[in-house]
Symmetry: C2
Subunit: 362 residues, 2 copies
């Protein structure tokens, strides 16, 4: 299998080059005596489309223009320029930060963000100008998830550069943070990725040696997967050429956890490289509740409301599986959890369900 | 420094012996032709006292009695006996589980738990009968937190028994799960433990090499620390004889995260060994908001309500620091976050605040 080479160093150089390009453009305008203007794609809902080829939301042709010559724009132009400067510092010094941290850091420079929302929004502007995710310029999520399995990685972060770790080294799993996200993948014997929503099941899978029995790298999502984890899953899929199977609770929230890994979200329509279009939602399906006679609960009003939203969502329309399972949820009006398989014994999910399901969808 | 020897194997043997003792007692009664009775400490609020010597809540003398001869008790007696059987299986097979999993597992045995609450409650009954925490009989929390620093551990779990890992091996941190909780501590050069509430700051501390500059093992709490993490911190404190410093947001919720690590919670009054009475809440204090001129927000109604609850809590009455800071919160009516130090630059918290605070309280 050929492996697409990933180089954290090249990626960092590219991001820095784009940031510097953005700065040079501002300078060029100033030197020509013009009020600097910044043009970026509009992210308003009327400019968001679902792209069936890319299998994700994208932005249309509409642009928005911010000019320092417009009194109403001065504030956001200044904020954007500072933001570009600040994340350039972060990236060139290889320091990471969080959305919250950036908001407070602005105060060190007397840059007036009135709220976290305002600062987050400017970061998203910068993402859409540069065409790269904030993790690329070292702004990471607060949430943490984890991974376990036979994959040897090589770090590219300071103090660890060149060091290697096999991801079976710690049987509780290792965290997916900035160091792992930017590591090179060196070697693996795995032939698939199994991602699970919940920590208890992640531990159960390790204890039952799912990584060996099924030749799998196990990813713990921690509920709705943080963006850096979605990016990490994409890298596993693309660089190692491994199929990805996602296991969640059988409810509209669980199926949407899988969908966001597969097709991203509408508010990341300005970004690429965060989705894994070939990943598969492997269960627990609504139809499994019936098939395996699983203990279940009645869908509540909030669940039904969410199901109706998903039914209108274009991402759920393209695939027979999504449609079938949405309809099944509506029909049986029930939901259940991954742990429900324990009604047949703790190891049933590993001994019976997992091999049956993988055979079915592989 | 002398190290109290921890042996996971001995501990497991002890837990199994207590479970078997519980079973034998049931048998003895049956053999004598009696309806089995189970006696355990009452956990009702009128039997919970604060013990100033142990510096935690404890249960008083009141007992509750469950008899299979009482029609109203048959159900809970049967559930308790099954629970003891089930966790004996878990513990002797060295498999772990979660509260949720146990609830579903009961259905495999036709044991009728009507709800998760009912099943959780029976687990707590069993804890108070055996005098050990559910983690001791392999029922672990769903939540995960993490650790990083120079500590070499040796695993005792199957497939890893005898293997060692240094906890600086992965610069994003390794997860605190069943394997780490039951590992032996072999060697450390650290002379303190620094625990932080938030993931972003945990990563910042690793990047800024706090573990080296301050000779510290870093623990990421993930908000309110899961019980297995509180137990892990206690082990670090007691076995390695290292002081523990806890950093949280400056608000009533943050200070209570520290308090629960230090003194436990009222609903764990039946348990020992989950608290670290000598751990210190090292910040961010209400008085730091004033002293360091930190960006802050107004306390909202919920914060004030919580502050008033804490003021009535006996755990907050025994120490000058708690009292001073509770009063300061009330006076300034403000709260702030750990990240607020970024207003002085990203590394200010490590370069200035951390050394000043440690000098102050060490």
């Amino acid at each position: 299998m050929e492996r697409v080479k990933f180089s954290a160093r090249e990626k960092r150089r590219e991001v820095l080059a784009r940031l510097e390009g953005f700065g040079h453009e501002i300078y060029r305008q100033l030197e020509r005596g013009l009020f600097p203007q910044i043009v970026m794609p509009s992210r308003s809902t009327d400019n968001i489309y679902y792209d069936e080829n890319l299998r994700q939301y994208v932005l249309g042709e509409k642009k928005k223009r911010r000019s320092a010559g417009n009194i109403g724009h001065i504030r956001s132009v200044a904020q954007l320029v500072w933001m570009a400067f600040f994340v350039h510092e972060l990236t060139s010094n290889q320091k990471t930060s969080t959305l919250r941290d950036v908001f407070y850091s602005a105060q060190a420079y007397d840059i007036p963000f009135e709220s976290q929302d305002e600062s987050d929004n400017i970061i998203t502007d910068l993402e859409s100008i540069l065409g790269c995710a904030r993790e690329d310029f070292n702004v990471f999520p607060e949430e943490r998830s984890a991974v376990f399995g036979d994959l040897t990685i090589e770090y590219t972060v300071p103090n660890y550069e060149g060091k290697r770790l096999n991801l079976t080294s710690h049987p509780d799993g290792v965290m997916i943070g900035p160091a792992l996200t930017s590591a090179e993948f060196i070697e693996t014997s795995a032939d698939k990725i199994i991602a699970v929503e919940k920590g208890g099941l992640f531990t159960r899978f390790i204890e039952e040696r799912v990584h060996e029995k099924f030749n799998a790298i196990l990813v713990f999502l921690g509920g709705q997967a943080p963006r850096s984890t979605r990016y990490f899953i994409r890298r596993l899929n693309q660089e190692l050429n491994l199929p990805v199977y996602i296991f969640t609770d059988a409810d509209p929230w669980g199926m949407h956890i899988a969908m966001v890994i597969i097709s991203g979200s509408a508010n990341a329509a300005h970004l690429r490289d965060l989705t894994t279009p070939d990943a598969k939602w492997a269960g627990v399906w609504a139809s499994d509740i019936v098939k395996y006679k699983l203990p279940s609960e009645k869908l509540d009003d909030l669940d039904i409301k969410r199901l109706n939203e998903l039914m209108r969502d274009p991402r759920y329309k393209e695939d027979e599986l999504w449609q079938r399972e949405l309809n099944m949820f509506m029909k049986i009006q029930k939901k259940c959890e991954l742990e429900a398989f324990s009604r047949y014994g703790l190891t049933h999910i590993v001994d019976k369900y997992l091999p049956e399901r993988l055979r079915e969808i592989e």
